[in-house]
Amino acid sequence: MTWVNDVIQGIMLGGFYGMLACGLALMFGLMRIINLAHGDIAVLGAYLIYVVLQHWNTSPFVAILPVLPVMLLLGYLLQRLLLERSLRSGLLVPLLTTFGLSIVIQNLLQQGFSPDVRSLGAQAGSVATASWQITSQLSISAIGALTLGVAIVIFGGLQLFLSRTGPGRQMRATAQDPDTAELVGINSKAVYARATAIAVAIAAIGGMFLAIRSDFYPYSGPTYLIFAFEAVVIGGLGGSLWATLLGGIVLGIAQTIGGQINPEYPVLAGHIVFLLVLLSPRGGLVNLRRVSA
């Protein structure tokens, strides 16, 4: 029964990783770049929610509402001012630019908010602590269920946006072939900027759950970038969006089962599963090769 419990906890944790990975997968699918500052952007979102809560005594779920438009704008500017320029010059430059950005964000957060470890769990109220006891060994936490639910809504919403709306169809067309998309009148730069704005806003939602589920500090970003990237790759780079959520869930299950074997192992177990998936001739790798060929 503990194994069943582990798998269920892993699935809920996986919803969280999927949420963090969603923006990364969207940007990779569209522009073939990995934003190495993605984890730090999620942490930045958590800090912005923290700032709102300083002035307004409410729950983080409400405090994120004014933060989301700010993040959308930041994402738009990030693409227009930095990434757009870096895209012109090959594979290396976007990697190096976003790595530099990651260091800048981390240290600005350190300067602005001190190195103190914070958490928004207390402000989230009973949601952060409540749980349903199903059997003696099986319990489902409210925050876990909510994380997974929100993740499914985000992925479903994004999928609907991409398949049913005009801007979404423009994004899919640009992802397939930017030059041809331009020929039929799509402004690919505007499409990229919109996508980055969405990716950054979703990262902020991930940041909110990060801040409620555990604690965070200015240098938390890289850890979550790695988890998010692992989720994307396990799901199959360049595959469908749902595969990314699935990848997050596989990573989550690997971590909870690893933690069951030895309390010191969860992260290591996740890394090992990631490396095994990279090694396997099928799985994530097949997709990846097909895309980059």
Binding site: F28, R32, I33, I34, L36, L82, R85, S86, S89, L91, L92, V93, L95, L96, T97, F99, G100, L101, S102, I103, V104, Q106, N107, L108, Q110, Q111, P222, L225, I226, F229, E230, V233, L237, E264, V267, L268, H271, I272, F274, L275, L278, L279, L285, L288, S292
Partner: protein
């Protein structure tokens, strides 16, 4: 090399050569400088010796990262894996009664060996996949080491075996060791890039697919760089523990090392031989001048790296080379006398 028939068609006799008077003088001067640096401990005090050890360690890191990224097109964010591994292997060997200095050399070779099986996994990836794949390996190694009690687990361990040397002679030996390693690896990269393999590596750097299509063995070339960079970073790790005498997993496996490497190479010039050397000197002085300013210094470091990546992607040296045609340490060939060829250098 293919310039010869071209030049003949243009009706002018072409001369293809590698060395100019300037580059002969400069390369010779560089060699003399290395020889002169042997005598630093004789002439200068302990502080200078330690500073020079640090500078040479930076230089070694920058040169090796540049070999990997600048020539192999492999942006690694996981070179700290080998820095940590080199440092911990040195400590482990010293615990098993190997002389610490011999241990550093063995640890360096060990890092190169570890990279052999890893290369078969990692070289299947390009771009971001490679970058984060190497990073995950470094993270996994850091966790693995921090679970080992014999190596001090998470709290770290010291290279106490070096205490059997008097402090001043210990510093001298460490300095000479670092100088030797830096000179060795820089020399190997120089010779490698000038060889036939070097031409294929530069072709890979410029366009991997085109290089493969004319028969360059892309993966073999990349593998050699991968192993060399691993051994070099391992040596830098061994030097670091000899210089600081104490290591702990989170610090020695810190991604900051890679951030420093990226900074040095981007500022100096990615994919140029001289660039990382210049970058290391710039970085060393920046560390000394602003290193105590903490957070703002790191913000500036990241910002400068971004600015170089976006606006001056060839770095200081690469831009200078492009504008002036100067080559201090020639890796390629130059054609002169033919129509349209670069003008003669004085």
């Amino acid at each position: 090399m293919s310039a010869q028939p071209l030049a003949a068609a243009a009706g002018a006799p072409a001369r293809i050569r590698r060395w100019t008077r300037l580059s002969t003088g400069f390369t010779g001067g560089f060699g003399l400088l290395v020889v002169a640096m042997i005598f630093v401990p004789v002439v200068f005090g302990a502080n200078t010796v330690q500073d020079m050890t640090t500078l040479l360690t930076y230089l070694l890191m920058a040169v090796m990262w540049n070999a990997l990224a600048g020539y192999g097109g492999l942006v690694s964010i996981g070179q700290q894996a080998y820095i940590g591994l080199g440092a911990y292997a040195t400590v482990w060997l010293a615990q098993h009664s190997v002389n610490p200095y011999a241990g550093m050399l063995i640890a360096t070779a060990f890092c190169g060996l570890v990279a052999v099986p890893l290369s078969f996994v990692m070289l299947r990836f390009r771009g971001a996949q490679f970058a984060i794949g190497t990073w995950v390996v470094a993270e996994a190694l850091a966790i693995w080491v921090s679970l080992d009690n014999a190596l001090g687990a998470g709290t770290g361990t010291s290279l106490s075996q070096l205490d059997s040397y008097a402090p001043s002679s210990r510093e001298h030996y460490t300095y000479w060791m670092t100088l030797g390693c830096a000179a060795f690896f820089t020399g190997v990269v120089f010779l490698l890039l000038r060889s036939r393999l070097g031409s294929s590596l530069q072709a890979i750097r410029d366009d991997e697919d085109a290089a493969a299509s004319v028969g360059v063995r892309v993966v073999a070339g990349k593998r050699i760089l991968f192993l060399l960079a691993a051994a070099g970073a391992g040596a830098a790790g061994a030097m670091t523990v000899a210089n600081t005498l104490f290591i702990e997993p989170t610090a020695i496996f810190s991604v900051n090392y890679t951030a420093f490497m990226i900074f040095m190479v981007l500022v100096g010039g990615l994919g140029t031989f001289e660039g990382p050397i210049i970058g290391a000197v710039v970085f060393y002085f920046m560390q000394n001048l602003f290193g105590n300013d903490g957070v703002w210094y790191l913000v500036a470091l990241g910002g400068v790296a971004m600015a170089f990546a976006l606006f001056l992607p060839r770095g200081v040296w690469g831009t200078l080379e492009e504008r002036t045609g100067l080559r201090f340490m020639p890796l390629g060939y130059r054609v002169s006398g033919a129509a349209g060829a670069a003008p003669e250098e004085p």
